[in-house]
Symmetry: D2
Subunit: 318 residues, 4 copies
């Protein structure tokens, strides 16, 4: 990724097809007017395209989503040649009941969608489409596309992401059919190591860390490297470190940017005490929440402290 606008990534792989929630996330960071969108059948495939140079970046879910899970993403990020996160996007998980123009609710007998989407609209369906039968699809968007493009499709409606309805020329009978009306899924933009986006004051740094041992203190010691320098964690997930029984790996989101001295200090500590630390990117938070600084942890505080220590060091006899 170069900084010149002319050479902005123009090819994006994403968890397709067009119309998925992941597609909506991609639309937040790129336009098809200036970029090529390349659908992938799953998260590993989307990332594989980046690694192979077939696309310049990928947009994939990083938190539990309807069609693909965070673990597939976390594992694929670190299994293979290095990739880094460049940004994150939030997408509301709102479903439409999409039909062909002219179809009425009373006409609906069979509804196509991804099994997970069906599960998330179960209450609404039980009330409004009592006798409807589920026709499974590989994604919510695939169901909508089939409905739109195949006159012989064996179903009358599709449950898909709200924006998808328009993508395929369908009509929404309701946009509020999800049982949980406030669900939001987080997606990330991933590319090969290259330029790290500048610090914004509202940043996140993602890491994968292995612990040296399994004593109760090992996790604590690792977290103390963050606490000692005032870096908060907004996400921590233990991951089985497959190669060795009883060893842990942790996927972490730390508040702050590698450009912040306190984040650098935490990383120095992790590198020293952990057998493996993988940097997975520093990037702007989607929620734009400004990082709260704790006393003594600003760049100025670090600078003043280092200046003092340097002045002492300069007096050591050589």
């Amino acid at each position: 990724m170069q900084s010149s606008p002319a050479t902005e990534p123009v090819r994006y792989s994403f968890l397709g097809p067009r119309g998925t929630f992941c597609f909506a996330a991609l639309q937040q960071v790129a336009s098809e007017d200036t970029a090529t969108f390349v659908p992938a059948v799953d998260v590993p495939s989307a990332l594989r395209m980046v690694r192979a140079g077939q696309t310049d970046a990928a947009v994939v879910p990083i938190e539990n989503s309807v069609e693909g899970g965070v673990n597939a993403t976390l594992d694929s990020l670190t299994a293979g040649s290095p990739l880094e996160i460049r940004g994150e996007m939030l997408v509301p998980i709102a479903f439409s009941l999409a039909v062909r123009p002219g179809t009425r609710a009373a006409d609906i007998r069979r509804v196509a969608t991804h099994p997970h989407a069906w599960a998330q609209c179960r209450t609404w369906i039980a009330e409004h489409l009592t006798d409807a039968v589920h026709v499974p699809a590989t994604s919510t968007a695939a169901a909508a596309r089939e409905l739109a493009e195949n006159p012989d499709a064996d179903f009358d409606a599709a449950i898909c992401a709200v924006p998808t309805t328009g993508v395929y020329g369908l009509v929404s009978l309701s946009d509020e059919i999800a049982d949980n009306r406030n669900a939001v899924t987080r997606f990330i933009k991933v590319s090969k190591p290259g330029e790290i986006p500048p610090a914004t004051g509202s940043d996140k740094t993602t890491l994968m860390v292995r612990l040296a041992s399994e004593k109760p203190g090992a996790l604590l010691e690792m977290l103390q490297q963050f606490a000692a320098v005032g870096v908060n964690l907004s996400r921590i997930e233990s991951r089985p470190a497959g190669d060795q029984l009883g060893r842990y790996a942790f996927s972490l989101d730390a508040e702050g940017h590698i450009h912040d001295e306190r984040v650098q200090a935490a990383l120095v500590g992790l590198h020293r005490i952990c057998p493996e630390v993988t940097f997975l990117g520093s990037y702007a938070r989607a929620d734009r929440q400004v990082t709260r600084l704790h006393a003594g942890t600003s760049d100025e505080d670090f600078g003043a402290a280092r200046t003092w220590v340097a002045s002492l060091l300069s007096r050591v006899t050589r």
Copy 2:
């Protein structure tokens, strides 16, 4: 759940239909000879049946599985009337390419399975069934059942859990089609609060904990309650605590049983400093790995320490 064998739970809900990986997990703890197996369409439904008294226990995935995710389970466990974990089971994630007797590999044009299962066999399929098309299904077992029971099914093969093939009278053309041959998924048995199974020396205690604040020290302080008494964590996952921005909840597996003094001491500490602690069960580990005790943390060590303190306390003037 009563302790008399005659009144063992006889009705189990599980993530159905028969033949799922979850079904295989259920078969590890119960037999259809003495129990009734009730399939549920998703994890929340399986748990809802227990809450409603329609089943005595449920078996559901607790770690990323092919057909249902850990997050749905974690969220459903704590959203609703109390449920507790009574045991865990490990199931190898091995897929069969199941066909009707007589079908040859060369005959296969369309393959039904859950989208996630399809994704996990992609490499093998690309090599061995180059031109096969994916027909999505709501579960791997549903695909197998449809193939077995519906002569008009519009596909020639199903990808399903290895044991499922026999369940439906199908034939396996290969049992080694998963891209990752070592995958294992963890399932749990859940019931209403009642008798907690006895300590075995190889136990796990699952908790959901909220932190009072979001300062970097808050997570550390919580973990110090475990470290101070020598209790190791084998799993930790931050969960967004939906009600309040910036507040965290953590899903934890602690090594040990509520019967162990050190686990009790950790829980006393959590109860004191955390606004909310939910006990989700003490139960035997599926891997039978014996809990390693750290110096000074055995029941004897706690007993001796409490005896000493009690002797001091007895001397305080009243």
Copy 3:
């Protein structure tokens, strides 16, 4: 020490002779009308008298004082049969320039006092008694007594504790001759193990603790036993643990009383992880400062937490 007033300790050993700062401390807790005061030549002797049953209690300095040091006291407390602290007293370190009636400042050529007292009045002496010569004495009180009782004493004035002047019938030419006008020394009342005074809400618990190892984490782990239960330390001093190179012992004052659940919990932790913990008493603070409770550390908080854990424990199958 019995609780009946009639049998209150009636024999006190103290760092003598009468008129020392230690004597002033003793006067804060006992009256010669009802008790016998037995002067000792040094701190170990005062404690030895208690151990031998020659006195019921001893009053000795526990923080740097003019005539005897904290270390002698700390070491003597733990070297020998058990002793415990029953209370503490604060004595302002104010010196008099004591003379026989009739002596004027201009007459003073030679001034007797303990070498440490002389050092603490050096500035005043340099200004007001420019040519005076120091005659060393074993204590400030001994100097005053000699001046009062021995007409042939080879000095004209004594520097002694302010109250001492009157004890020996001398006259003070100034009570403000100390270079530091705000110095205060802490003394303790010590007796054999017996009844521990009741909690007052403003208490202190004194401990001597050995660490198992010298790794940087060992001290931290010990202190975490206090922090985990919200117990503050008001004093910590490392002491060489003479028997083994590189091992530490720590003399600690913890805020709170053994009657407080949080102090009990801290002691249980210390007993578990430290090779040696010596309880040296729970007693009222001299400054009457009420112990600040941190969230989640009151007896009620502990009680509620233990009740919850007990309710879980009661459900474990036996």
Copy 4:
């Protein structure tokens, strides 16, 4: 202090007079052949001479000694213009019973010495000089000098440091009269800020640190700055921070030299989180014990970690 031998400090103040234990400590680092020894009447005076430029360095006790205490030294070090520790020396606390040539034990009626020395030989005296009377002196050396130089002294013997006997031409009747035969006192060499002696691999760094608050976690947080970078403490003493009730100051000896990266990292941390940190010197340990390095805390470990972080930082877009 310059590094050229020709300009080595040639004037030393010490806790006099000649013949004290402090004098013995001074003799370990300087010879009267090439340096001037200036006796001071107390520790503050010895340090004042350095501050005033009257001497180039001072040698004073830093741990409880017979004639002067650590607290006077600790307080004087930080109360006034900056001073730093340049080295430490250990002196065995062995006492002689010194007499004029010809005096026999049976002739001894009155024994002069500092009150603290008298206390430390009490057992031996009780056995061997049953009826001897104590004549107090300002120091052990002052007693010896008076005995040697004043034929009219009103005592027959002096208890003094073993080497002192010869200094004043006296004869020792016994060199083993101390009740504790293994006592050793630590002394330090102090000078104005200037060149810091080079790291030897067996070093100590002395600090005075104030804490921002008195919550139980504050001390812990301070110590975590050391633990997080693997720096062990060999001494910690809480000191009342006179200016504000409930605030603590701590006098610390950390293992290692300001030249060590881990010590620098600890100091950066202290400077950031503590309202006041005073550097009191990095210098060779008297016991020559090599500092044990913990995994991940060598200069190489720090260097490798910083190099990694720098490589990440270099990729941040500017």
